[in-house]
Subunit: 197 residues, 4 copies
DNA sequence: TATGAATGAGCATTCATTCAT
DNA sequence: TATGAATGAATGCTCATTCAT
């Protein structure tokens, strides 16, 4: 017998329902344009119930942001990047990041939306992105040390991959093989090489 | 100059005041979080006056988006890219685009914000971006034809530059020499070249 | 042509209507038990209009307390008490105070009600009462100096008159000739006098 | 002592806890401004429990008024006033009444508060006060019969003592030696006596 | 006896919008 | 052109109360 049985399970379920409904509605319409009544209807509950679980609408947003965040997943994706060729590692990373953006589109859109008007959210977003880009940058530098890559501005390279893919999604630009194409671009560049002339 | 012209000038001034105030407040707080009363206060006018110039709050937003858009400027920036080396042209382009993002930050932020919840705005944004990227892509292809650049996915290359710079601004990431660093990345890539091995 | 014509008169009238309706309803039902909707109905206006004139429900209460106060009238009643016999002066004062309590019953009741749960209102009430009692006490002392009254605790005497009459009203005890009876009590006492024994 | 008794005791304790908490909170904030949730927190119980003991919030107020009333104590204080000099009896009575007002301040304040907006409570309050004043008046008349006091309006004399002391407490006016001073005032009056002239 | 999830009506307040002046 | 009083619907939130457990 676990700690969560009977009522408790139901209560937890309710809470999750609110988080799910809030993520969906907030991302579709925006936080301000979503009313608590909308959320009540989406969860099939009475107008006041959300306040049983969340202190206010803002706290509900904070809970959604905290408990439905994709940053933990992103971080897991970036920890211990394998000790293998950049073409392979970056290619796979770009694909997986792109897949995550598709899968978590509502949250991506919600964060992008709120970050424009909420300085605090924007600051935290930037911090987490830098954190993520840092992992990739360190990986790139390890490949430079091995002589596989040339010395370069690794943070800008890492950001270029992430930022470009995110913007594909936020603008709704069809991605096609963007991840692979982008990685190829970053690795090889577009200029004619000295040895080719 | 007649009295009518005088009034007309005044009227135009008022209208511009509303557009300016709306751009500022909408971008800072978001469209929903800005009240018509806020706009009246910001322009030093009575609550009802905005309705003499704009049919509704939504129409005011549409007018701001149309009349304060940076797309004409962007387009001008991209038309007739000079017939000169890519390193030079792309470098200057990246710098100027970056400068425009700084200068027009409120509008950039407003568009980024509204595009998340308004499919129509998002669609138009995407269309205009593609339009702009198309110019750059055609330029790049002209340099491929000249043998200066290798054949490559030119739309992805163009987007990578724009998307990365935009995201620097939207997230508030300090840009530093990002434009130049980015252009260098795109031109040369990061992989060790065959001739260097 | 005065400063207040047309709309302005109407606006001022509205404000007075709200003050009057608020005084009536707040005193009958209590502040908390009166809804803004009640006030809208009582003034024949829409639910939001009160906020055009008062920042909040609390500010409306404050405005009622300030602008419908009976303290100015009380103070006027007590300033320059005539230089005449105490029996006459106190008698007339008690009658007039009693009449004012009847006439301003709603405000008296409102203040008595709110003072029980609002320390700030209570403190101000006490201050104003002391102020009023002070006038009477000084008058009484002037009569002591003339040899008309015996030395006594003049603040307690003053308060006894005011407090007793107020409580008659607040409890709804039929007053009858309470004012005169009270003044007689205070002047002569009830004990058998030395000269009567 | 059986388990049932044990439970019963517990139940009584709970009930008393609610009465105590309600008296405290109702008198501090007012009935309307106190929520059942406040009461649940103050008693360390769940929101629904109060309804096992009291049918509604109003019934809880009624129970507090009935079961924490100071009127029985007042009545006991007034029954069989001793057959001794008025100076002594009234002095002690005023002191004891004043002490009771201090000790039972929350209830005094609660009754004063609710009486302003509840005609029924006000009527009962008035009835009980008259009842109490009647005892004192009868005592005073007995002293008149003995020739200790002069014939006078004994109800007004009785009320003057009670009403004045109550108002000292409700307004928060520092009492000092008000009870004794007041009794002296009532007995002797303030006018110069014939025999002193 | 006791819990706390759930309800649904109601509250203070805001707001886009209208319109007489 | 400009004002600002007025509207009425909607919003976030609270609360007394109920009831399955």
């Amino acid at each position: 017998m676990t700690a969560t049985t009977g009522r408790r399970v139901h209560a937890d379920t309710r809470r999750e329902q609110f988080l799910d409904a809030a993520l969906e509605l907030f991302s579709e319409r925006g936080f301000d344009a979503t009313s608590m009544k909308d959320l009540a209807e989406a969860t099939g509950s009475a107008p006041g119930l959300a306040y049983h679980y969340f202190g206010s609408k803002s706290e509900l947003l904070a809970a959604v942001l905290a408990e439905r965040s994709f940053f933990p997943k992103l971080r897991a994706m970036l920890t211990d990047l394998p000790d293998r060729p950049a073409a392979l590692v970056l290619g796979e990373l770009a694909e997986r990041f792109d897949a995550m953006l598709s899968e978590r589109e509502p949250m991506v859109r919600l964060v992008a939306h709120e970050a424009q008007t909420d300085g605090q959210i924007r600051a935290e977003l930037q911090r987490r992105i830098d954190d993520g880009a840092g992992f990739v940058a360190r990986y790139l530098e390890s490949r430079v040390a091995l002589g596989e890559l040339r010395p370069h501005d690794s943070m800008t390279a890492a950001r270029a991959i992430f930022f470009t893919l995110v913007t594909f999604h936020l603008t709704g630009t069809p991605a096609g093989d963007a991840p692979q194409s982008l990685v190829k671009l970053v690795l090889e560049g577009i200029a004619v090489r000295a040895d080719q002339e």
